[in-house]
């Protein structure tokens, strides 16, 4: 588009606003389908299997390695100030408050979000969604909503698995490899991590991210151009928009939850 022509700029702004409106309406429709999804839980269960079980491998392995790195870097930094006993506290707080929800959401966007967008986009390209509408089956209720609620249920669980495996990874590096005292490792951690303020807030964050990532993936798939090129562009946009949204919301939520 030519940015110096007011008509083109006006058209671009209006189409962006229209896109925002379409997104908002889809979000409200998905929220409204909660009851229908509970009644046909088999659909949600199949989606949890697809989104959750298959993401478990990447989440667990990533969590392990993030825990390893936190243990290593944390030890060398804390040792300079003679506080290497606080390693357990450092690893646990970093994971539970920030890294668990955010990194799990980013990995989820990359693995599950792209597969959701591609699936919905290809269904749209193959005219399956239009065929459903012809049969008086609402595609949002039958196809999109189960995936939405499955994603909302799955991401908090994945984030918890990430944090737990990360803490164990930090233990393996800190205590077994670097020689930090295990009593100090777990004791300082238990003294400094609060169940409601830290773990609870991390869970709230991952629930919000679950809503965000799944919604962005479904929206991009639903609004994709019904061509192979359109689907591939939609998939890329899912990862970019979902990742930026997660990081932006993380800042907002952290400011709301953890500032004094």
């Amino acid at each position: 588009m030519t940015w110096w022509k007011p008509a083109d700029v006006g058209f671009a702004v209006r189409s962006k606003l229209a896109g925002l409106g379409v997104g908002a309406r889809l979000f409200v429709r998905l929220l409204a389908q909660a009851g229908a999804c509970l009644r046909r839980f088999a659909l949600v269960r199949d989606q949890i299997h697809f989104l959750g079980n298959y993401s478990l491998a990447i989440i667990a392995v990533s969590g392990l390695f993030v825990g390893f790195v936190l243990g290593l870097q944390g030890y060398y930094t804390l040792q300079r100030y003679g506080s290497s006993e606080a390693l357990g506290l450092l690893v646990a707080l970093s994971l539970v408050r920030e890294l668990g929800p955010v990194v799990a959401a980013l990995l989820f966007a990359g693995r599950a979000g792209t597969s959701l967008t591609a699936e919905i986009g290809l269904m749209k390209a193959g005219e399956q969604l239009s065929a459903m509408e012809m049969m008086a089956v609402d595609p949002v209720r039958r196809v999109l909503a189960p995936r939405f609620w499955a994603g909302v249920i799955t991401l908090p669980l994945l984030a918890a698995v990430f944090s737990a495996v990360g803490v164990i990874g930090g233990y393996v590096v800190g205590v077994l490899m670097l020689g930090v005292d295990p009593g100090a490792f777990w004791g300082q951690m238990q003294g400094g991590v609060d169940v409601w303020a830290d773990v609870g807030n991390g869970v709230v964050k991952s629930i919000v991210f679950g809503f965000t990532v799944t919604f962005v993936a479904l929206l991009e798939g639903y609004e994709a151009q019904p061509t192979p090129e359109g689907v591939s562009r939609a998939t890329t946009r899912t990862v970019v928009v979902a990742s930026l949204a997660v990081l932006g919301l993380d800042f907002l939520l952290t400011a709301m939850m953890f500032s004094i």
């Binding site: 046909r40 839980f41 088999a42 269960r45 199949d46 949890i48 299997h49 959750g52 079980n53 478990l56 646990a92 539970v96 908090p156 669980l157 994945l158 918890a160 698995v161 944090s163 737990a164 495996v165 803490v167 777990w186 951690m189 238990q190 003294g191 991590v193 609060d194 169940v195 830290d198 773990v199 869970v203």
Partner: protein, 163 residues
């Protein structure tokens, strides 16, 4: 609802997530040390509370016997009113004294209870006035400088009087 072989896997996945949350709550956080016992409330008046916050530990002989419930300012006595909730299984004599101590040199502050000698124990709602406030560094320094200045001036006054 249709049964499917995926049920077991989804169930295992949810169980794994719940187990991870439980692990975080119990091993990493302080769920087990949260006290669900009954407590009784006692109020204390301090001139300066230093760095005390709600949920700060109250210790006697180093063992946690209660928590700080709330801290308010009393504008009639111009002191801080600190409400403590002490665990019901521990009773202290009526003339126990409270001090604000620091764990370690630069550590967190906590309230220490030293038991008195009274036969009667503290009842819920009692007020403790035998308190020692937190140490304020500036007051210490000015005290030190003042005493140094006082020491420095007395020999000169002696020689002036002789004349």
């Amino acid at each position: 609802m249709q049964r499917s072989s995926k049920d077991i896997w989804v169930g295992l996945f949810v169980l794994l997530g719940a187990a991870a949350l439980l692990f975080l709550a119990l091993q990493s956080a302080n769920l087990l040390s949260l006290n669900f016992q009954r407590t009784y409330e006692v109020t204390a008046r301090f001139d300066n509370i230093g760095g005390l916050k709600p949920q700060t530990a109250v210790r006697s002989a180093g063992v946690v016997v209660g928590r700080v419930q709330s801290i308010t300012f009393n504008d009639k006595t111009f002191q801080a009113d600190v409400t403590l909730s002490l665990q019901s299984r521990y009773s202290f004599p009526k003339d126990s004294s409270l001090k604000i101590l620091t764990s370690g040199l630069l550590g967190e502050q906590y309230i220490g209870i030293e038991a008195g000698a009274d036969e009667k124990n503290l009842q819920p709602g009692d007020t403790v006035t035998a308190t020692q406030s937190a140490v304020v560094l500036e007051n210490l320094i000015s005290q030190f400088l003042f005493s140094k200045a006082a020491d420095g001036s007395t020999p000169q006054q002696g020689t002036a009087n002789k004349k």
